[in-house]
């Protein structure tokens, strides 16, 4: 473990304190002690607020560095300053072909088409790259890509989980809302406000209520005997998830006892939960009007029947219920009463929760929370979101524990850059697209991820001095997600169905997976064209991850996932090599290539390279590939003849075209299995 000494020490101390605390907790109050009703709340000390993440947001000056014209924008000044102080230089820029593949996958989750590549390579305008970025950000594929990052955080699924894993027939509307919000560049503060309190903020806008589906994404156990327990579990999960996503703190740890390491009391947890306590849960609603009182809505049932339904949040009518701390997290043991309040450690000026009297039929509590979470000077919320965006572009966040900015999290590698971005973002009108643009047009982002002859020395030093690439002395190579791999195969084969939105699609599943489900849990979508939609539109069943996504590290949907693993395991090889999907797409690709390139093997190989890897083969590759096509076709012919001879003694007609087609299919299958296909330089 390589930690800066100070933070390492802090962590050690925290660990030791945690250990002491756990000993204390284990030895003092007996688990069933009925007397245990007084729960002390430790005050926040100034020492608590010394932790970097709780410090007020700074506005650091952009460092002046002698950059020799390297820097494109302020990001580069920060990066270069720290590289220089470590005696390092950035890698030279990646070539244009690498760059377009990198930025296209990054922003849209799809490969660039051969035509797009040609256009970019031949575009001599100074701002050709900026124009490319603009075009990608304007593409609907952008929202389809970036929505998945958000849905990983929201632990989005279209079923309840647990025994019946019941379908949530309207959950997809929230997924579509996220895609659409990103595509129209809804300012991030609005994006947050609507997901937490869309029903209160825009009571006449059904679209805004759908956003509140965010709060209702978690797993649910409708069948449990105790409906109180069901609700309690759901609300706790909601509270912890909101804390992790927006505050970057593991607030959920404080459900049963004060947080072991961070200054978050059990009171803090239940105060945060109190914002959600008035919610009426577990009921889809007609998307009519939130300004109608709830009972009037029910009375309208006959007319409401025809309206689309939505999985949306809404407070129960009447006075909000009282909220209590639960002793040891046990809902059957209410402790002291609590009222909604903001997390003390990041509420140094003691802002109180103001009721919103103008909210119709709602407590207005969630609006107050949403307002607080979108304060432009919020020390956590702002840092957390710019760090998440950074992570997706650069492989790691400036803080490498994106949902834990607490004592146990990693300190930022570039604290000043983080603050600069966090303070700049609200000034950019909270525009995520502007933030993306700033990051991907930086020279930092455009660096090469591997050396060529001229950069070998820079590379050697980068690897030696910055092995973890904490200083970004080079670009990180990335493995595609399972979704991007599937989409890229469909795109390369020409079979991708670009229809947008709508209920989740269920392509056929292998029989052996169906038997691990209950009966009829995976009715295949009848229209086979639908099976080739983008991965974001595939049905998300909580109890079964879609196989290709699962092997490529898609998280399960039970807990918020801030960053996916990038594992390398043999089942990935088995999937890409042997699955029916791979072979089918290889066949489509082969037949497309044969149609376009004709029967010339070298043209075929070239066309495959262009479609799958976005480049031309070099001489070595071309020779090996052509040799393969010829030898494979010949062997297939021999094998077919041998097999036929064995079975009925007669020679089959020598249909060499068929063997050439099969050999081309084999070649296409190899292309989908290449490292170069699955990794982005």
């Amino acid at each position: 473990m390589q930690l800066p000494a100070r933070e390492g020490l802090q962590r050690t101390v925290a660990l030791a304190m945690g250990l002491l605390l756990s000993l204390f907790v284990q030895s003092v109050p007996a688990a069933d002690d009925p007397q245990e009703t007084v729960i002390e709340e430790a005050p926040i000390t100034s020492g608590d607020r010394d932790h970097w993440a709780f410090q007020p947001l700074g506005r650091p000056d952009v460092p002046a560095v002698d950059d020799n014209g390297w820097a494109t924008n302020p990001i580069d000044h920060f990066i270069l300053a720290s590289l220089k102080s470590a005696g390092l230089s950035p890698m030279p820029p990646a070539d244009r072909r690498t760059l377009i593949r990198r930025v296209t996958f990054d922003l849209t989750g799809l490969p660039p088409t051969p035509k797009e590549i040609d256009q970019f390579l031949s575009d001599s305008a100074d701002d050709a790259y900026e124009q490319l970025v603009n075009r990608l950000l304007a593409s609907p594929a952008y929202g389809e890509r970036w929505a998945q990052h958000w849905l990983d955080l929201a632990r989005f699924a279209e079923t309840d989980g647990f025994e019946h894993d019941k379908v949530r027939p309207n959950a997809w509307r929230y997924r579509d809302w996220v895609i659409d919000a990103l595509n129209r560049d809804l300012p991030y503060d609005q994006f947050v406000r609507l997901q937490i309190a869309g029903d209160e903020i825009a009571p006449d806008d059904p679209d805004a209520w759908i956003a509140t589906g965010f709060l209702l994404c978690g797993p649910d156990m409708p069948d449990i005997n105790s409906q109180i327990e069901r609700r309690d579990t759901f609300l706790n999960d909601m509270t912890g998830t909101v804390g992790a996503i927006f505050l970057g703190l593991q607030v959920g740890c404080a459900k049963c006892h004060a947080h072991k390491y961070d200054p978050i009391s059990q009171h803090d947890f239940y105060r945060l939960r109190a914002f959600f306590d008035p919610l009426e849960l577990f009921k889809d609603r007609p998307l009519s009007s939130m300004t109608e009182p709830a009972d009037a809505q029910d009375a309208q049932k006959s007319t409401a029947k025809d309206l689309p339904q939505g999985r949306v949040a809404r407070d129960a009518p009447g006075e909000p219920p009282k909220s209590f701390l639960h002793i040891r997290g046990d809902f059957q043991r209410p402790g002291p009463e609590v009222v909604p309040a903001f997390l003390r450690v990041v509420n140094a000026d003691g802002q109180t929760v103001e009721p919103h009297p103008n909210r119709v039929n709602s407590s207005g509590r969630r609006t107050a929370l949403a307002d607080w979470l979108t304060r432009p000077d919020h020390p956590l919320a702002t840092r957390v979101i710019v760090n998440r965006i950074w992570q997706h572009h650069f492989a790691h966040g400036l803080v490498r524990t994106p949902s834990d900015f607490g004592i146990m999290g990693e300190p930022p590698t570039h604290a000043e850059l983080l603050d600069w971005l966090a303070s700049e973002f609200p000034k950019m009108g909270w525009s995520l697209k502007r933030l993306h643009r700033l990051m991907v047009t930086s020279s930092t982002y455009r660096q090469a991820s591997h050396p060529d002859e001229s950069s070998r020395e820079i590379w050697r030093r980068s690897i030696a001095e910055d092995p973890e690439n904490q200083l970004l002395s080079r670009m990180n190579r990335r493995r595609l997600s399972g979704e991007a791999i599937r989409d890229a195969m469909l795109a390369a084969s020409g079979e991708l169905n670009r229809t947008q939105g709508g209920p989740g699609v269920r392509p056929p599943l292998p029989e052996e997976l169906l038997t691990t489900l209950l009966k009829n849990q995976w009715p295949v979508t009848p229209d086979a064209d639908e099976h080739r939609r983008r991965s974001i539109y595939l049905f998300v069943r909580r109890n079964l991850r879609y196989p290709i996504f699962e092997v490529f590290d898609r998280p399960d949907t039970n807990q918020s996932c801030p960053r996916r693993d990038e594992s390398t395991i043999a089942p990935q090889a088995l999937t890409l090599l042997n699955s029916k999907f791979s072979l089918t797409e290889a066949k489509y690709l082969a037949s497309r290539v044969a149609k376009k390139a004709g029967s010339s093997p070298s043209e075929q190989v070239t066309a495959c390279y262009r479609r799958v890897l976005g480049r031309l083969p070099n001489d070595v590759e071309l020779a090996a590939s052509m040799q393969f096509l010829e030898a494979d076709a010949e062997k297939l012919r021999q094998e077919s003849r041998n097999a036929a001879t064995r079975s009925d003694g007669r020679q089959p007609p020598d249909n060499s075209d068929r063997f050439k087609t099969d050999a081309l299919t084999d070649f296409c299958l190899v292309m989908f299995n290449l490292n170069e296909f699955v990794y982005v330089d």
């Binding site: 489900l517 039970n558 594992s567 390398t568 084999d666 190899v670 490292n675």
Partner: protein, 491 residues
């Protein structure tokens, strides 16, 4: 030897390339899961298999991942999961008083009982079949299970087990993961994480589901939760395609695949050369070699063609009712023999042992299907010398109520039930713990699921308080903040 804390790099992104670490990292991850494939032959020449001799392996990480905290009694586990909830009071926990008071309501002295289907006021139902003392030890087992009864001296019945939920999925999750919520790592994943695998050609954690249908709660029951994906249970089944996508599609011949793999290797190496031999990319090249070898290894393992007729008979293979479970029990033996660390078998389709309306019929069926195969497994393990260091676990997600449901059925009972253990350092021929006079609640020497898990880890040489994984700001454990090792049952 004092227990040593297990240190793992748990924060995503902390390990990074492109030095040799990547390759190691891959090997370690691979060791835990399906990716384990065929490393042995691959690595023989490189000394990487033996961490002590490894020239460049990180000692701490590698050895900690594979070395237990103290001397293990069991090296591997076979977990026979009776899905649906078998009735302890009809199988392993004799209750003469229940016969005496049959037909009467639950005496008031028992207080309020939480049940799934409101059966608290229903008349008591007598045990359906007589119990008898068995073997030298005299452990009492019901006539539902004549074959297992003959192994009474091997087994240790924990009669005071209890859990926290009257619902199926919550209880299935809890029995597997310690938590009634979904999405936590399962016992098998924790064990793979803590101990790795002995056979690097195979996954450390294999699940053999019931072909009749899924468990209530689904595959998350053997999921890796927040542990890395390579620790999840790999489902396998008998036959030619034991693992999903193990084989090429039928129209692709083996020779054809070999040719494709040759080209793939050539092109990938060319690419690798241009990328400064990046470890991450190299690991992926190797994963194809491993996958290829696995195609040979896994089918061999599930091929029972070379077992003797006598062995097949022992498991009830070839007999209509016992064939299916018998084959899976035999596969379990073959797998632990080959060094798979943790094998879990499910008996029972989606409803399984969930005898809400006719215990005699339901349990009659499931006992006939499993009794002989389970006894055969114990016998076979014993005579091969495997039982000494293989822990066999038998149990469901809960037991059943002494009150009747719909006349002859019984509702779920998580408040008191039996689980039995055999082999692997457990004292055979004993019972431990007690439920009350009618089997409603555990009352003496109670064993909560956390305690059961702590005991299982202990037998495997791991301290349940030290086997941790740092996740979302917390050192997570299988046993949460509880768990007591039931030392009284150790041999």
């Amino acid at each position: 030897m004092p227990p040593q804390p297990v240190q793992f790099s748990a924060v995503p992104g902390r390990t990074h390339f492109p030095s040799g670490t990547t390759r190691r990292d891959f090997l370690l991850r691979a060791g835990g899961g399906l990716g384990a494939l065929a490393l042995a032959s691959l690595l023989d020449g490189q000394n990487l298999l033996n961490p002590c001799r490894a020239s460049d392996a990180t000692e701490t990480h590698t050895s900690a991942a594979l070395k237990p905290h103290f001397r293990p009694r069991a090296r591997r586990v076979i977990y026979l999961f009776m899905h649906g909830g078998p009735s302890h009071i009809d199988l392993f926990d004799p209750k003469p008083d229940l016969s005496k008071y049959a037909g009467q309501p639950l005496p008031e002295s028992f207080g309020k009982v939480q049940t799934r289907r409101n059966v608290a006021a229903n008349p008591l139902l007598a045990p359906l079949k007589p119990f008898r003392p068995r073997g030298d030890s005299g452990v009492e087992i019901s006539e539902f299970l004549p074959h297992i009864a003959r192994c009474a001296d091997e087994i240790c019945v924990l009669r005071g087990c209890h859990g926290d939920s009257v619902n199926h999925p919550q209880s299935v999750y809890q029995m597997n993961t310690g938590s009634i919520l979904m999405g936590r790592p399962s016992l098998g994943s924790w064990v793979s994480y803590g101990l790795g695998t002995e056979n690097r050609n195979m996954p450390a954690f294999v699940v053999l589901p019931d072909p009749g249908g899924g468990v209530k709660g689904g595959p998350p029951a053997w999921g890796n939760g927040y542990l890395p994906a390579s620790y999840q249970g790999t489902t396998m089944r008998p036959g030619k395609n034991p693992i999903l996508n193990l084989r090429p599609q039928p129209e692709i011949s083996p020779q054809q695949q070999v040719r494709a793999l040759d080209l793939l290797r050539t092109l990938n190496r060319h690419h690798l050369q241009q990328r400064d031999f990046d470890g991450q990319l190299a690991a992926r090249v190797e994963s194809y070699e491993l996958a290829y070898r696995m195609q040979a290894t896994a089918p061999e393992l599930v091929d029972i063609g070379r077992e003797t007729a006598e062995t097949l008979q022992l498991y009830g293979i070839g007999e209509k009712e016992t064939n299916e479970f018998g084959v899976r029990c035999l596969l379990a033996r073959r797998m632990v023999e080959a060094g798979v660390r943790f094998v879990q078998l499910y008996s029972g389709d989606t409803n399984g042992w969930d005898a809400h309306n006719n215990v005699e019929k339901n349990h009659g069926t499931y006992c006939r299907r499993t009794d002989k195969p389970v006894a055969g497994l114990l016998t076979d393990l014993r005579r091969r010398g495997l039982l000494d260091d293989t822990l066999v676990i038998w149990g469901g997600e809960f037991g059943r109520m002494p009150m009747s449901e719909q006349g002859t059925g019984r509702d779920h009972n998580p408040w008191g039930y039996s689980v039995w253990l055999a082999g692997g350092g457990v004292r055979g021929g004993m019972t431990y713990g007690r439920t009350d006079a009618i089997g409603l609640r555990a009352v003496e020497n109670k064993v909560h699921i956390h305690d059961l898990h702590a005991t299982i880890l202990h037998l495997l040489g791991m301290d349940h308080e030290l086997l941790t994984y740092f996740h979302n700001g917390r050192d997570e454990r299988l046993t949460d903040v509880a768990g007591r090792v039931v030392k009284e049952i150790l041999a």
